[in-house]
């Protein structure tokens, strides 16, 4: 008799959880007329220090790949003040939703003894393919605050596949062997993120209509957030400006 009551109590409890939206729902991400995009440009206003030249002479193989010295990529500003390597993402408004990561991996390449791209973004549990396209051995060493820390040596051409289980914006990645190599991996629970390219532009696609908080993150300049309301059939425009 007691068992029956316990089972009933358990069922009631779980039912309450689901009904009360305490268990996450899986929302399929599909393009339809009801979902829109948020796009815009991230800019930087202020004085930009010229990037420092990197001395790669410790490794002759890196020197060969860089006939002219490479430069640091801390704050890369293009024409008209557009900011590269800023990560724009939805930081609020997606509570209660869960998203399966895509099957395709994201590729991070070590080329010319630098990370390409400098900042990469992917979903939690999405595969990260690390590629060593150089003729020297690298080690890839993320320093996460919210994920497991690992450190793998990667000789030229040897494949390496990893993933991160938890959202973290963003995980610094470095190569200990080549200390100038620094990059970032931003990990999201959802697919609504973009990393600005040379033109500083971003587009967050396939957002369901609703109210959202959109945040921009930059490795050196910090974060900014804005509210945006996305209505069906009406793409929203959103710009960010980092001032120095």
């Amino acid at each position: 008799m007691k068992v029956k009551y316990v089972a009933f109590a358990l069922a009631a409890f779980l039912g309450a959880l689901v009904a009360g939206d305490w268990l996450p729902r899986v929302v399929p991400v599909a393009a339809d007329s009801a979902s829109v995009s948020v796009s815009g440009v991230v800019k930087f206003q202020g004085a930009v220090l010229p990037p420092t030249k990197i001395d790669m002479s410790t490794d002759p193989n890196c020197m060969k790949a860089h006939p002219s010295p490479g430069t640091t990529e801390d704050v890369v500003v293009g024409a008209n003040g557009v900011l590269e390597d800023a990560v724009v993402y939805v930081s609020g408004g997606l509570e209660g939703h869960a998203f399966t990561p895509p099957a395709e991996p994201v590729v991070l390449e070590q080329k010319g003894c630098t990370y390409k791209p400098h900042v990469i973004a992917l979903q939690a549990n999405q595969k990260l393919n690390v590629v060593n396209g150089d003729s020297t051995t690298h080690n890839i060493h993320p320093s996460p605050a919210n994920n497991r820390e690992w450190n793998m040596t990667q000789p030229p051409g040897v494949p390496l596949e990893e993933s991160f289980a938890r959202e973290e914006i963003a995980i610094p990645v470095k190569c200990n062997i080549h200390p100038w190599m620094r990059g970032y991996v931003a990990v999201f629970k959802h697919p609504f993120f973009a990393v600005t390219g040379k033109d500083g532009s971003f587009e967050l696609k396939n957002l369901p209509a609703g109210n959202y908080t959109v945040t921009v993150w930059h490795g050196k300049l910090g974060t900014q957030s804005q509210q945006v309301t996305v209505a069906a059939g009406q793409p929203a425009k959103l710009d960010f400006v980092f001032k120095q």
Partner: protein, 273 residues
């Protein structure tokens, strides 16, 4: 037998729902009382807590985050147990250690650091400490248990093996941190930091000093496979085949010998490609 009325059923359902809910919530928050299993030993965190407060708290801190009162005066810093990132393990890089890994570290101590060998403690006490140390990180409840890496059988040493090992020392870029003679003075050595940002030096392989995770050839091989998490020393499990790892271990032995007998190391000259 009592007649079961609706009222009684409702009361019981409410009471038991509440009890079950509370239990589930409590269990999910606290986790099962932390235990450790090392061989026949079963350690429990409650006993470990009293031992921790007697022995460990001034370095590792009341919260197990490595911020004990003595920590500012210690280099390298005491381990932050809340991150569950450990140097000396038998598991792949990024994985939790085995209970026996933590037990071995407590027993052996960590050479050239503030962590002494706690061998004089009873085995049960050390097992209890392992259980309590684990309780500082929820990872031990969240992540599935990981098996130990398998150590490939040792290959015999030979001049050819040593030579191959020397070439690997070069091509795997060990020399960039550890230096050409393994003395820890490579070009990248001065830039190295641990995962908390504190500077640390690569191990002086020529010194003959005890290595932090154990000195045997099997121990060095295991270090190559697992990497020392939380430090710049990576795992070579994707990079080297078992034979190659043993070649490297054989080469490293000659670095120690060279220092002991002041003989010249078969220096591996930089090759231009």
């Amino acid at each position: 037998m009592r007649v079961i009325t609706m009222r009684v059923i409702t009361k019981r359902v409410i009471a038991e729902t509440g009890a079950v809910a509370a239990l589930m919530l409590f269990a999910s928050l606290m986790g099962v009382a932390q235990q450790s299993h090392i061989g026949n030993l079963v350690g429990n965190a409650k006993s470990g807590k009293a031992l921790y407060q007697r022995y460990c708290i001034f370095c590792h801190g009341a919260n197990g985050d490595g911020n004990g009162d003595s920590a500012p005066y210690i280099d390298p810093k005491p381990r932050d147990f809340t991150k569950a990132t450990y140097k000396c393990r038998s598991t792949p890089s990024g994985s939790l250690p085995l209970d026996s890994d933590l037990y071995d570290t407590i027993t052996r101590g960590v050479h050239a650091s503030g962590m002494p060998s706690w061998r004089p403690l009873l085995r049960q006490e050390r097992a209890d400490l392992v259980a309590y140390v684990k309780s500082f990180s929820s990872r031990f409840q969240e992540e599935p248990a990981v098996a130990a890496v398998s150590l490939p059988p040792q290959t015999p040493t030979s001049p050819e093996s040593v030579k191959r090992g020397g070439e690997l020392f070069r091509s795997m870029n060990c020399w960039l941190c550890h230096g050409n003679d393994g003395r820890g003075n490579g070009p990248s050595a001065s830039s190295l930091t641990d995962s908390k940002g504190y500077a640390l030096k690569p191990f002086d392989l020529s010194s003959g000093t005890t290595l932090k995770c154990g000195d045997s050839d099997q121990g060095i091989l295991r270090d190559l496979i697992t990497g020392l998490d939380g430090t710049p020393m990576p795992s070579f499990s994707s990079a080297l085949k078992p034979d190659q790892m043993w070649d490297l271990v054989h080469y490293l032995a000659t670095l120690r010998e060279a220092a002991k007998h002041h003989t010249a190391v078969a220096a591996v000259e930089p090759k231009s490609e």
